[in-house]
Symmetry: C3
Subunit: 681 residues, 3 copies
């Protein structure tokens, strides 16, 4: 990974599409001049350029790309070069229709849109390898090439015959026998047991679509097939340019229902193992009308931290908008100052870049109103352009932060398997599963107190953490139970909750009560899970105060744990709602009910205190001001960010230096609306 | 019907699936022990066992079923044996894909899910007969066999070529000529008249989908085809076991929109003629957040009474949950005491059983979180298990009630044809038809006063009733009109309403004013039907008080009836809204408008009084306490059920004996929350 | 156009379907008698009669139609004769399945419903020409024939192979080369550029469905294909009856979301060029629960005026209901008096007819509850029948108004292209585009002041107008810009707004700032378009008062215009929100923000005053009373219509004569609820 780290600057730039403007030579010329003003140092090229690069099968045109790369290079910039598999040329779909996806209804799709190739198609893999090899041969040694951007926003599923065959093979490899599948998916229920491998087909609304274990395995299969396609793409790249780091851009989702969480469709914990650098496309819904800016910032921070944690190393923001997106119902531009603030937040959580989709707004077609550095007015007087340029300027003054790390003592476990299985499972409250959203409610307690948190998978090591939070860890293998036991036994503090540890790796319930290792670890057994309507609540009595439960109130049996909180009403009034147990050198906590954050704040307060997790710099924090730290060899850097429209103050305990003004700061510190200050100590 | 009546006990038990647990011999062993504790005396076996019973075409394995039946028998239990057509083996779908349904878009479905076979497929009928014959041969003489459970929850439609052929043939049989169809469906409208039988195809969103008469006939056809398939299934059963009663489990629906009404898709009035015993799957949505428990109980009572009335003989609750279901959005468990109360309500309305889906929660797959007697914890200390066992104990003390009848003087007419035609008809208020829901509003008046009501079809005899309520009887044949005239002429009291008697049997409007027999019977003619928005109301003036109308305010012309109520506002202010007429020995009432229950209560009060319909035992009732009566040869049994979370009192006029405590009771009687007492006199 | 104008009477009548009643000879006999009572003088025959007229391919039966036309003629009536292509016979779909449409998923539809033929099918065109020729041959010289009604309510799209071929050809004709398409649709974005004509296919959810330029051209293509089919239908008609005027009935839409606007799917501006007389089917949603009757009347007036403006000549209301429709969720009948009022409104805005769908309610099938002159009761005592007859009587007293014109000084520009492109375009507020609805908000200001308004296309000449209102004219060709410049330069007053002039004819953004001709015309440049959530507003300060903005607040740069209003809050507080500029002999206004009508009323007030646009007759108006004028050679006719349930007064300045009572009127004039008076001066 020589090239990416070579540049001492934070990467600033983004998707650049000169291939849309080949008939507008003035525009391309102006691009270069305007990039200099905006302090752009990195561009991503070629994401959707296949049709330009290979206009006919086997005929290649690289002139425009040669020129674009050379121009960037001459200006001292970096190029992140994309493989173009995200968008096929028309001729490819025409000659080989099987490269297009088949949907779950068995309907073959035709050419159009993007990101919709069949990940099994041998011919598509072959054609992708051809163009990727060409790109690697031609540009692999170009000094501007700093990174490979493999395809774009991998996602989706295919149900064609080839994929059906792969599904069958994948299951053979995993289970060996049909009888193992019948048992693991509990297929004797409704009598749908397999008796021949030819009967095994993908889930479909027109056929089998109710088998939880099948659906869970299907999700895993989709992740594996996506990675498998990616690895096929990667082959010529690795062969020819073993020293160039590779990434692919991950996503977040949930905007339409007021959420902002990592993409749910693909297990990025698995995918992360195959990329050199994590990168993602970050589009928080700033200035929405359903939450405060600080709340949006918290969710944004959560996703940054999750993608940091996948490799516990600096990541890249591969896409973001300097202004607005075009795919919301209501698309708000960032107000003045928000671009600076939100971009700095990326760095604060571990990004080494701010890259935009896109340098210049396209003139037509589906995303013509998506924000960009350069608007249709082509003006450097444009507010957005000026804010980007100002950000570029500030980036240069804090460049030494690039490549620094983070020190984190708290981890939240997020498990893709559990999320898939929980959402699929029926029963209880279907719309109230909200596993990642519940994790964010725990996360918020720490974020508001400026305590850094990692979000790790259930496979990652926990040894480095003083506190591990694992609510709703529905699917737990025996191995995970052992790992959690070990963690606590060796002195860790663990918080878990209702819905944890109910099923095994194929979504089969554990029988005969909650698994013994968990009973031992938490000192309780589970009895019932009372499911509440929206407008229903129980009261949790904790330290002489009442807190409302919502959605779920678990009824538990205390074995040898200590009761910290009890229910006040309903038939389980007086029984335990919150328990703790000393186990080995450590301590476990069990939250039987879902509560609001008011309770979580009170609950975590003594834990934070006893584990000394408090932010050591900020002695008086402010929930609207986020302070995040990056840690270098000899220095620490603190980003202080006011996510509100009012002036806010915090108090800091140690003398620090403002990296831009050089001013020394200590004690009370005031931040203007949306202001961000970066200090060093 | 020897075997079912042989057992003197109420049937207590339910779906039992040892075939899911063949690899868990300990579980099967524990089942037998736990059933004894829970006082289970009846199990339903084999509903989805085809794949186990015939793992390959023509190869049969009965060992596990032999053993299950024998075990039950040894413990003194009954077996209800299912035919397994609700769930095909994979090999059958594979060898004969035509057994799977084709949907209304012409899309062939593949194997999966359940209840989705083509009811026309000759090969499916053949295969079903083979397995059914095998079952009848093997178990027909087993002393444990008390009843056949044919298939499971028949429902749905098929549009394959075979079904299209049957549809054509069915129409030929019914109408003889295309011209008769053209006239009956009024096909000259939009010029879609048939000129060749080959043009006749089923309604489809891709073709004809707006012809009311066609849609109505299609529904009738679906009912007939469903019954026809059932009768084909039944053939070997009847042949080999003519003395074993047969049933198939009916359903209710509407949970998702806060309703609880009989299944609308199949005319159970027709189906009832072909079963020996009515049985149904009862899943009221207890403890929901949109109505009181008493309201849920009223709806539940309504459906029980409708299924009682289909044969006017004891029915079976074939499925119910001892705790929660898994298919609501929010799935509440029954609170403590609710299982007892709701199960006793079944008996109170004429059920001779409480059977559960299911004995034991499945370990995986689509219904793994559906309630059961035995939970995943496999514990007899489980609250649900203990409540079931307690119910089993109480059942034994009241066993003499089994087989007793009911005496009912009030009937509500429900007509499947009218319901289908009303919902389809367009015009007026589309979302406000709500025919069965409106019947429930009338029913509620009587239920709250502990007056039993039958819900009969328009084909059933009315002679035994003092009061017949027939609102919204939209589709009326001449024969129905004559029957209603006869009923009143001979002394009956009849209540009808807006929307009644508008169309004939093919949904063609009666021309030239309301049909003369109805004009004569009610002494009015119809002028207009004012349709109201949600937020609109007229005022009905009745006995010096005002009541709001909603949804519909009919404007009528009084011929020779007496006006009881008038409208207060709008252009028809002052005109008649409620009328009555003495006709022959009886009396008819017409409600021109839809009102709330406040008016209905006032309206029915003098009718109840003059016909002496009041509950003779309860002199001071309580709308939260339901009192229902079963009538034996020499005794009457009253179930007194408190459907509220508070203590409630009623006053009874005669001395009765508590069947469990033996205590004598008279006068004021107090019932604890959810308490149920069964008394005898 | 001899025959239509020949009759001096307003046309009163409507769809007449004796072919539904051939088996009911009494009904047909009564029709003639009842028509006389209802003063019906015109019927539309044969809309869905193809199956009766040609029961087998090439076999024709005209007897019933001969008789119907003759009967009407004998009674002195006119016949509007329909070509029957709106509903094919079954045999035609059977013999030539390709006449049925293919949907966007590639699914071929089968026979059924109506209005769903493929407009490309050569065989369908051929068969339509055969039957049309037969009709023209047989009835072309019949003295009763006054007009041709070509097909019925043309609408919809087809995606069959033939249509795909036509699409390809249409694009070849328009663009010449694929490269021109690639540029015009900006297909290098996402790399979907065409390299072979075989790749060109219609937009589909299964293939390309995100290309704005393609979608816009597709809409144009659909309009052209619809007209092309219409012209093919017309060929034998024109050939044989060159003197009979032709029309086809246009539609309005939007009822389901509380709108009432012209049909959006077809560019009626184009279609209008090919008909002799505009006619449309008018179904405003009177007495709804979401707006006042006056508001419904305003929307109804708007659509009338738009259809008047298409040819600036009297149009026909081809369909309307005398009572209720059947396709709303809640279908209200017209209250007493509303039929008179709403029918008179048709004439007031330029209709020369009131025609009903339908003369008689059908006895069955999909529209059996749709209103009609004759109800199922077949009674002349029916309220609706009596109101229609009374209207027929009044029509005769004002017959001299027929054929008169209108004088209009204000025009609103509506552009189908802009509407299609705006709705498709993404970005900003997707649900808040509402282009035609916004035009109605401008229109309402004038309607409430009894100032007539034309709604014209951007192709129509503007010279006759003193004021032209063109907000949200998103798509503007250079030619349109020049036309607007010319209009103002020569003394016109022009109002435009945010969203105007952003894209060219293929939905490509203008680059380098707002187009120079517009900058010059309005004296501003555009900077940003702030998009507001539902619950967000800015404040517009105008003449010392504040008005809320909603949905959109444009931020602009003032070049050489005068600022009339400014924003009060947010980051663009103090900047211009409303500007004006003197340009040539005229004046331009720019509204940067969307506001409520309160602001628009204040904004237009001085413009109306200075241009002397006020209604000269009404010196004191009333927003609930609409006064509309028709202008004859020597006379003016004023319709005074009270669209409220209360008495209302207005004051008129000149002496006028009530056409019915002969009474002279001046000064204060009182109108009873729903009253309409027609005066002459």
């Amino acid at each position: 990974m020589v090239r990416f780290d070579r540049d001492q600057r934070f990467l600033h730039g983004g998707d650049y599409n000169p291939d849309q403007w080949l008939d507008y030579p003035d525009i391309i010329k102006e691009d270069a001049e305007m990039m200099a003003v905006a302090r752009i140092n990195t561009v991503t090229l070629g994401i959707f350029s296949w049709a330009q690069l290979e206009p006919q099968e086997g005929v290649f045109h690289f002139d425009w790309l040669d020129e674009a790369i050379e121009t960037i290079y001459q200006k001292g910039g970096n190029v992140i070069l994309a493989t173009p598999s995200g968008g096929r040329p028309q001729w490819l779909s025409e000659a080989y229709p099987e490269v297009n996806r088949t949907d779950q209804f068995g309907q073959k799709h035709s050419h159009g849109f993007r990101h919709n190739h069949c990940y099994s198609s041998p011919i598509y893999r072959e054609k992708v390898q051809v163009i990727n090899r060409k790109l690697a041969e031609r540009y692999g040694n170009h000094p501007a090439l700093s990174m490979w951007h493999i395809s774009n926003e991998y996602s989706g599923e295919c149900f064609c015959d080839g994929c059906q065959m792969n599904w069958r093979q994948w299951l053979k490899n995993k289970y060996g026998t049909l009888e193992a599948i019948n048992q693991s998916w509990w297929l004797n229920f409704w009598g749908n047991r397999y008796t021949d491998w030819s009967q095994v087909v993908a889930p479909s609304p027109l056929g089998e679509h109710k088998v939880h274990g099948m659906d869970l395995d299907w999700k895993r299969f989709v992740t594996e097939m996506t990675i498998d396609f990616y690895l096929a793409e990667l082959r010529p790249i690795r062969e020819l340019t073993p020293d160039i780091p590779v990434t692919t851009n991950f996503m977040a989702e949930g905007h339409d229902n007021h959420d902002f969480i990592p993409l749910e469709g693909i297990d990025y914990g698995e995918f992360a193992k195959h990329v050199d650098v994590i990168s993602w496309d970050s589009y928080p819904d700033w200035h929405n009308n359903f939450e405060t800016v600080a709340r949006t910032a918290m969710k944004s921070a959560y996703v940054h931290d999750q993608y940091w944690s996948l490799k516990r190393q600096p990541f890249l923001v591969m896409e973001s908008t300097p202004s607005e997106v075009n795919w919301h119902q209501i698309n708000k531009s960032k107000r003045p100052g928000m671009h600076m603030l939100s971009a700095m937040q990326q760095l604060a959580h571990g990004s080494d870049s701010t890259l935009y989709f896109q340098w210049r707004k396209s003139r037509g077609n589906s995303e013509k109103f998506h924000g960009a550095v350069v608007d249709h007015d082509n003006s450097m007087e444009n507010r957005v352009f000026k804010e980007v340029a100002e950000y570029g300027r500030r980036l240069e003054t804090i460049a030494e932060i690039k490549g620094t790390s983070k020190e984190v003592k708290v981890a939240i476990i997020f498990d893709w398997d559990s999320n898939w299985a929980l959402k699929r499972g029926g029963g209880f409250g279907r719309p109230t599963r909200r596993y990642p959203q519940t994790l964010q409610e725990h996360y918020a307690i720490f974020w508001e107190q400026d305590i850094p948190v990692d979000i790790v998978t259930s496979e990652q090591s926990l040894g480095q953490y003083d506190l591990v939070i694992a609510p709703m860890l529905y699917l737990m293998t025996k191995k995970t139970m052992m790992m959690l036991q070990d963690y606590v036994r060796q002195g860790g503090t663990l918080v878990s909750s209702y819905f944890s540890g109910l099923v095994n790796e194929t979504d089969l319930l554990y029988l005969g009560g909650w698994p013994k290792p968990l009973q031992e670890l938490f000192g309780i057994d589970l009895l019932e899970l009372d499911t509440l309507y929206d407008d229903q609540h129980n009261q949790l009595l904790y330290q002489h105060k009442f807190y409302e439960t919502k959605d779920y109130s678990g009824v538990i049996k205390v074995l040898d744990s200590q009761i910290l909180g009890t229910y006040e009403t309903d038939f389980y009034a007086g029984t335990a709602a919150v328990t703790t147990k000393n186990y080995g050198q450590g301590k476990s906590y069990y939250l039987a009910a879902r509560t609001g954050e008011a309770f979580l704040a009170v609950f975590y307060e003594p834990i934070i205190r006893s584990l000394r997790l408090e932010n050591q710099l900020v002695t008086q924090g402010n929930p609207e001001v986020s302070v995040q730290r990056r840690v270098g060899k000899n220095c620490q850097y603190h980003f202080m960010m006011n996510f509100s429209e009012e002036c806010q103050t915090i108090v800091i305990s140690r003398k620090v230096t403002d990296m831009e003004s050089g001013q020394s700061l200590i004690g009370k510190l005031s931040l203007k609306p949306y202001e961000v200050r970066i200090v060093k100590e």
